[in-house]
């Protein structure tokens, strides 16, 4: 493995395919991750709110969504979309869309749980106070409850974003043209596995590490108890 690592010829081969395989793959991964994250956030907010309403059927639907998608592997879900969606909509589904709905729906279930816990942590009295001021349900959520939960839910949300980026690599298993697919395809074509996988790992690290640091920073900030600002001029 060390001998392979230092093989100059193999690295030259890698730098030849870097612009033609790795960069386009990296762009696909970024696009899928961003669009997937937006979908996951949207689903997470919707189902997170549903699971905290008083209406039983809404809570039940949210529960089913969360339990089903959290308790089956992403691989199975993505393969299912890939193999079965064409029958349902009667045509081929672009890999980009498969990736977005794959990670979007999967992580949406996790984000919905994060948001539910956040909402439940806000005292019930806040709802009552808001209603008494003439706010409706959505307004209460948007202006009063969700902003307060932000501090608490941001660290786990960032962690979810990190996992989402990692999980876009599942696309490689259905020839999704993402970073992992190109790295694996080139690697097995030439047998240069170290040169194929190490740069691939670094590229994923490049996206995920800042997210990991952000999550850590937010976590520490959330734990800090707020200190009242000292009035000016007082020693």
């Amino acid at each position: 493995m060390i001998k392979d690592l230092l093989d100059v010829k193999r690295w030259e081969a890698f730098f030849k395919v870097l612009p033609t395989e790795y960069i386009p793959g990296f762009v696909v991964t970024l696009k899928v991750a961003l669009a997937g994250l937006l979908l996951a956030l949207a689903l997470g907010v919707i189902f997170g709110m549903l699971s905290t309403t008083k209406i039983k059927i809404c809570r039940f639907i949210a529960r089913v969504y969360v339990e089903f998608f959290q308790n089956t592997p992403l691989v199975v879900q993505v393969f299912f979309y890939y193999a079965c969606l064409p029958y349902v909509i009667g045509g081929r589904v672009p890999k980009f869309v498969l990736g977005v709905i794959g990670v979007g729906i999967y992580h949406g279930a996790y984000i919905s749980e994060v948001i539910r816990t956040g909402i439940e942590a806000v005292p019930k009295g806040q709802f009552e106070a808001a209603y008494s001021q003439g706010f409706n349900y959505l307004q209460t959520m948007w202006y009063i409850i969700l902003p307060q939960t932000m501090k608490m839910i941001l660290p786990p949300l960032t962690n979810q974003a990190l996992n989402l980026v990692k999980n876009t690599s599942v696309l490689a298993m259905i020839a999704g043209m993402d970073l992992m697919y190109h790295a694996d395809s080139w690697g097995s074509d030439r047998g240069y596995f170290v040169q194929a996988y190490l740069p691939c790992a670094l590229l994923y690290f490049l996206i995920c590490f800042p997210l990991a640091r952000l999550a850590r920073y937010l976590e520490i900030r959330a734990k800090r108890t707020p200190v009242p600002k000292k009035p000016k001029g007082v020693a």
């Binding site: 890939y82 193999a83 079965c84 064409p86 029958y87 045509g91 081929r92 589904v93 298993m173 259905i174 020839a175 697919y181 694996d184 395809s185 097995s188 074509d189 047998g191 596995f193």
Partner: protein, 292 residues
């Protein structure tokens, strides 16, 4: 002071545990080297080379075959047994190595089969998971630089499987179509060469998959238009709804692959393949499995 040094040593121990575990995880390479060294003396008293002696000492020949190619290498889901002409060939080679007949080798389970795909077969020879690969493995000049190949035991061509209702009649209809090919196979390369050589004005897209079942599923769901691999493999996936196009191109030879360093083993394997061919037994075996 004393407390902190004890704490330090405890943590050092934990760290050492991690490191040693990581090392043993890489496993096997060290011990394999020592057995190889010991075998050179054992080989001195006979015509058996060190690499073959190593297999004899292990008592089992590790062979990589396909698990999903009917008639060549197929795992019977009912019994778990491997079946096919390449499996029989593995027993013939095992018989030669262990000095018995192929039937005895089978009865004594002298061959340990390991399922491989087009993608995994190369690396698995190199990392020692298998001693040899007999898995519809096409001999090419590039591959010969990396592995030893025996003389060919079968010649096949690449074929194209399409859905009957797709309207595709020949390779000339493939412009803009999506073709499923296997990762680590030569299909994509030889097809592009064939198209260029014939001067067809078609530019298909290629998608690589890790196994034939995934490719068959992709074809049924119309995620791809064409499923292209060697014709021998295609035959196993052809049914009422699909057809194999008459196009056949890139005649290619299947050989038994072994690790490049294991020259002795390669010679032995080649001897077995050539004996089987000259005695007519290879043809019998192929016929026995209904292969043309």
């Amino acid at each position: 002071m004393k407390k902190s040094s004890m704490k330090a040593s405890a943590l050092m121990m934990a760290a050492a545990m991690m490191v040693s575990a990581a090392l043993t995880g890489c496993g096997g390479s060290g011990s394999a080297a020592t057995t190889a060294a010991a075998d050179t003396t054992a080989a001195a008293d006979g015509a058996v080379t060190a690499d073959v002696q190593k297999i004899i000492d292990a008592g089992v020949l590790k062979v990589g075959t396909k698990v999903d190619v009917p008639k060549f290498g197929m795992q019977n889901t009912a019994t778990g047994e491997m079946e096919g002409v390449e499996v029989d060939l593995a027993y013939e080679i095992a018989g030669k190595i262990f000095g018995c007949t192929a039937e005895e080798a089978k009865a004594k389970k002298l061959v340990a089969f390991q399922g491989v795909t087009a993608k995994t077969r190369g690396p698995l020879i190199d990392n020692g998971e298998v001693d040899m690969v007999i898995a519809t493995y096409t001999i090419t000049p590039e591959r010969k630089e990396t592995w030893n190949f025996s003389d060919p035991y079968y010649t096949d061509a690449v074929g194209l499987l399409v859905l009957k209702d797709s309207g595709i009649k020949s390779i000339e209809d493939l412009d803009g179509k999506v073709i499923a090919v296997s990762q680590g196979s030569t299909t994509k390369k030889v097809m592009m060469e064939y198209i260029a050589e014939k001067g067809f004005n078609v530019t298909p897209e290629f998608e690589e998959f890790d196994g034939y079942p995934s490719m068959a599923a992709a074809l049924s769901a119309k995620n791809v238009d064409v499923f292209s691999v060697d014709r021998a493999i295609l035959a196993g996936y052809n049914d009422d709804s699909t057809e194999i196009l008459p196009d056949r191109f890139a005649e290619q030879d299947y050989g038994v692959a072994t690790k490049l360093d294991n020259k002795g083993l390669a010679d032995l394997v080649n001897g077995v393949v050539n004996d089987l061919k000259s005695s007519g037994k290879m043809d019998e075996m192929l016929k026995g499995w209904g292969i043309e």
